[in-house]
């Protein structure tokens, strides 16, 4: 059963766990934070990969869900800090688990609303509409001053998780890593399930799916909502990592980056987002250390990848065939 892709995936998973632990005990907490960033972006991209990789839905607006997750963490924490009740007299909270749940629900609801309209269209319309809806939320966040507006919203103390000191880098990394692992397992289960079969078939041939009696629109909408939920949780983690949330989490650059991660790693591949995120973050870090103009070279590298290395890194290493 162990084919090349499985072995490769296991190796990536182990490396992503072992290196930060080693770095932590070598007294290099910065690398732990870097790995945390990789894990969180991976999770966000795993969410997008569900819509984009399995369903062929090129969402250029996933920053919306990432940002909503981030603001959920920021807003709940700020209310818990100030003691002011949220709407309906509900209090804020510092508990990550509650925050994740709320982020997931909020992300899911917004994904449902955006999907309801966007999924009536396809192709390039879908790309642009998801982008536009994300921009709408972005501008709302900028012009709505209650939670910091353009300046963003600080989280003064990282939120809490029962029995874990989240303030230290390594435990927080492990939380993020565990959530990424759960995300990957869910992705794999969904991809292999009846729903996953219908979703992947919808990408390949919508008419065929309808002709066997499965409604493609509802399959896609469900996938889009699940996808948004994953990405929203990642957003909440990201806000807690930086102890800060700002409209930049909602920006279209972030939506673009999430797509980049997936293409770098390999579209529709289980570990595509993880490999893509690792390469992207490390590249950013490495280029950033060499030159102030790292974005320029990052652009050149990305361009090279699209033009010459199709199928992403996982595709390069594990070969193209994967469909049974």
């Amino acid at each position: 059963m162990a084919n090349r892709e499985t072995i490769f995936n296991l190796a990536v998973a182990l490396l992503l766990l072992a290196l930060p632990i080693a770095a932590n005990y070598a007294g290099e907490p910065f690398y732990v934070t870097l790995a945390t960033r990789i894990a969180i972006l991976s999770l966000a991209a795993v969410g997008l990969n569900l819509a984009l990789g399995l369903g062929g839905l090129v969402s250029f607006g996933h920053a919306a869900f990432f940002g909503i997750g981030g603001y959920t963490a920021g807003i709940l924490a700020s209310h818990a800090f100030s003691g002011d009740p949220l709407i309906f007299g509900l209090p804020g909270t510092k508990q990550m688990i509650v925050i994740w749940l709320v982020a997931m629900i909020a992300g899911g609801i917004v994904a449902f609303l955006i999907g309801l309209i966007s999924l009536r269209t396809a192709g390039v319309y879908f790309i642009m509409i998801t982008l536009a809806f994300a921009q709408m939320i972005f501008y709302f966040a900028i012009s709505w001053p209650a939670y910091g507006g353009e300046d963003g919203l600080p989280i003064f103390v990282r939120n809490q998780f029962p029995g874990v000191n989240t303030l230290r880098p390594l435990p927080y990394f492990l939380i993020c890593y565990a959530l990424l692992a759960i995300g990957l397992i869910l992705f794999k289960l969904i991809a292999d399930s009846r729903f996953g079969a219908a979703l992947q078939a919808t990408r390949q041939n919508e008419v065929r799916v309808a002709s066997v009696g499965i409604p493609p629109y509802r399959i896609r909408l469900a996938a889009f909502v699940i996808s948004g939920m994953f990405t929203a949780i990642a957003g909440a983690l990201f806000a807690d990592l930086n102890r800060f949330v700002s409209p930049s989490m909602l920006s279209w650059h972030l939506s673009g980056e999430l797509i980049v991660l997936i293409i770098l790693g390999g579209v529709g591949r289980l570990f595509g987002p993880v490999v893509g995120a690792a390469i992207y973050v490390l590249l950013e870090f490495w280029l950033g250390g060499i030159t102030e103009r790292w974005q320029f070279f990052l652009g050149l590298i990305l361009l090279g990848v699209v033009l010459f290395a199709r199928g992403g890194v996982v595709g390069l290493i594990a070969g193209r065939a994967r469909h049974g």
Partner: protein, 306 residues
Amino acid sequence: MTIALFLEQLLNGLQFGVMLFLMAAGLTLIFGVMGLINLAHGSLYMVGAFACAVVAAWSGSFWIGLVASLAAAAAAGAIVELVVIRRLYTRDHLDQVLATFALILIFSEGTRWVFGSIPLYLDIPTLLQGTVPLPGGSRYQLYRLAIIGVGIAVAIGLYLLITQTRLGMRIRAGESDREMIGALGVDVATLYTVVFALGAALAGLAGAMVGAIQSVQVGMGEPVLILAFVVIVIGGIGSIRGALIGAVLVGVTDTMGRFLLPQAMQLFLPPSQAGLIGGAIASMLIYLLMAVVLALKPRGLFPAQA
């Protein structure tokens, strides 16, 4: 609120719309003919603005700068088409998105490398400085009126180009059947480069003209690009007429929304809150407009024949 203020805002909306049209026309043309989604269109807008600012500062003439902006954007467009874009026509939209996203990084950082992070300034040409009277007693900037005029001229010019010329005939042929025009012996590769350069020149023109009202800086093209996307989605991708109507609709809706909504909110909210809530809703208004249009017509107001 006076009639004069209302009229002024309406003209501002029209001017904004016209500028969006210059961006959207190129985008929609490139998509209609080549089937390409070009995120880097905003970079060409930026190139036009920088070229105009630099050449105007060097030569002392806005007009030479304007010509330079057209030339620079068209040249940048042609080079990008020859080196990168033409490898993407047969690719799916995902690859096109990623490649043109990479181009944005290259353009933005490259421009910052050359010109630094400090915005450049571009003065309104002497000829167009000053104001004209509006009915109701206030005055309106002549330069903004000129932008509206240029936009209308470009719209007419594009209409004539597409309906009356050989190039236009080929563009129309390319929109209806991409394989056919090759079979008819049209040099498709050159046609595509020309169309791309034309779209780039229009974006550059828009950048140069707006550069004199706002500052010229890296990243200036991105908000405009996204609005141009909204415009062509509303208008129907591939349709120049749709781009024109969509652009005016978006320009006027956005400007008038920001102007009127906070005032309307004052009818039932205290002024401070009305400003905030009205402003926040106004910032989302065009996206709501887009959502409504798409809910009714998923392929936009003027869907191009597919």
